[in-house]
Amino acid sequence: MRCRHVNILLADYRDKNLSSQDMASVKEHLAQCAGCREEYQFLKKYRNGIDAFPVLDPPDNFLEKIHERITAGERRGLIRKLFYPLKIKLPLEAAGVLALTLIIAFIYRPFAVNRMAYRAEETAAPAASTVQPEPKKTHPEGDFDRSTATVKRDDEIRAKERAPAPHVAESAVREEPYKAEITLALRLNRVSINVPSVGESFQAKNLTEAGEPRAASEKDATSDKKEKSSAELSRGPFPAPRDQPEVDGIAALAKSLAGKVVKTTYDEKTGFHRQVIVEIPARNYDQFLTGLRADWIVHKQSPAGPHPRARRMQIIMNFSE
């Protein structure tokens, strides 16, 4: 019998689980082989040591402790079910949920109330009153219920007490929740306006006041039209951006109607403005359109009018030749 085989059988030899023949073979091998004998001595000591391992008794109140912990766990489980339905364990998860809530609140603004809108309108009203005086006791929207009217009256009193500066009105206007957009396609009214030539553009600026493009005489306009080259025509309806009385005119018109220019799009290639966006109170839209038609031909309007609930509106004006 070889050492490797004997080593496998040593444990069973110690436990006397081998056949009598194998027992005799192992015994014989151990008598001759010092290495295997040493291994057997080690195994015997190891096994005897393990057999002598003491068996410990658990504490006397072992079962009671288990019952206590089960009861406590059930109570805690109930509290967890009631107060922690999401089972949020990590601060990171909690931070994520909080961030998501804030983002949703920021996007949808569920707590924004109309009161802010009324206040904004009232504070903006003095600026508009110079253009469109309205009867004092008539509400501009005409469709408010009593509660909103009360809110409005309160705001009137507060506004008077505070005597808000114009910039306050502007900031309040920005809080308007209802807005509408109208897109206008405009073409220059060549009959009514003086289109300066390249050489005269700076001169035209001096002659033409901002917001009043019709200041130049019709005669000059006719002569200018004759002198205008084809290259100038290809540049579009506006002179160079620094020489844009028409944009200034639109800005002045918007301002006179309690509005403002929100954005202007300048075309680098042609050197003209392609788009101007103004924001005005919706009730002044007709007036704005009338003023605009003095210098421009509105050949497209979409949609037909402002949204009935809109208080502020944006007018997107796209210019074409």
Partner: protein, 200 residues
């Protein structure tokens, strides 16, 4: 051999009856199961963890898990094997817990040469595990040598050499394949032999 098998079968039948009784809301059946197996589970935990209080805690946790999950027991394996598996996994979790690792680390920094002895002495416990082995020095040395093995090897040695479990049962309890169990056990015994030869 057949006598042991008969005892085992009878014990298993008794367990099945107790489990079924527990599932019909008889809490006394659970108490009987605890009383029957508390020594086995407690000693298994103590041999894996080497700490009386931690063994107590783990053994209790094992039975709490049994209480909560007994309705999921499908009677496909023996209750004892299922109980062993829960106990071993609970001990593994305990070993892997941050507190346990920190405790071990602290001990090693304070006194690396006498890590095991020191950790037992520093423990705030009226029970001194050294007293357990005072009658048999070899047993104490073997216990320390098993404790010094990597956790995944130490558990196998406890299950095979101390608890006397079959390789197949060990595979089922630990969730490790049979071949891996055998190879890991061979490696564990080699390490034990190297460490114990110095002291035997």
């Amino acid at each position: 051999m057949s006598r042991n098998t008969n005892i085992s079968n009878r014990s298993q039948q008794e367990d099945d009856v107790l489990i079924k009784s527990f599932l019909t809301d008889n809490i006394n059946a659970f108490d009987r199961l605890v009383i029957k197996y508390q020594n086995l589970v407690f000693n298994l935990c103590f041999r894996i963890l080497g700490d009386y209080d931690e063994a107590d805690d783990c053994a209790q946790e094992t039975f709490i898990k049994v209480y909560k999950n007994l309705k999921k027991f499908r009677f496909q394996s023996s209750f004892t094997t299922w109980l062993y598996r829960i106990a071993v996994n609970t001990c593994r979790n305990k070993i892997a817990s941050a507190g346990n690792r920190m405790k071990k680390k602290t001990m090693r920094i304070d006194n690396p040469s006498e890590h095991n002895r020191e950790s037992l002495e520093l423990h705030d416990c009226s029970f001194n595990p050294d007293d357990v082995f005072e009658k048999n020095e070899d047993s104490r040395l073997i216990h320390q040598a098993i404790e010094s093995l990597p956790d995944h090897l130490g558990i196998l040695v406890v299950l095979r050499d101390i608890e006397g479990k079959a390789y197949e049962d060990i595979s089922e309890i630990t969730g490790v394949t049979l071949g891996t169990v055998k190879s890991r056990l061979a490696r564990a015994r080699h390490l034990l032999r190297v460490r114990l030869r110095e002291v035997f």
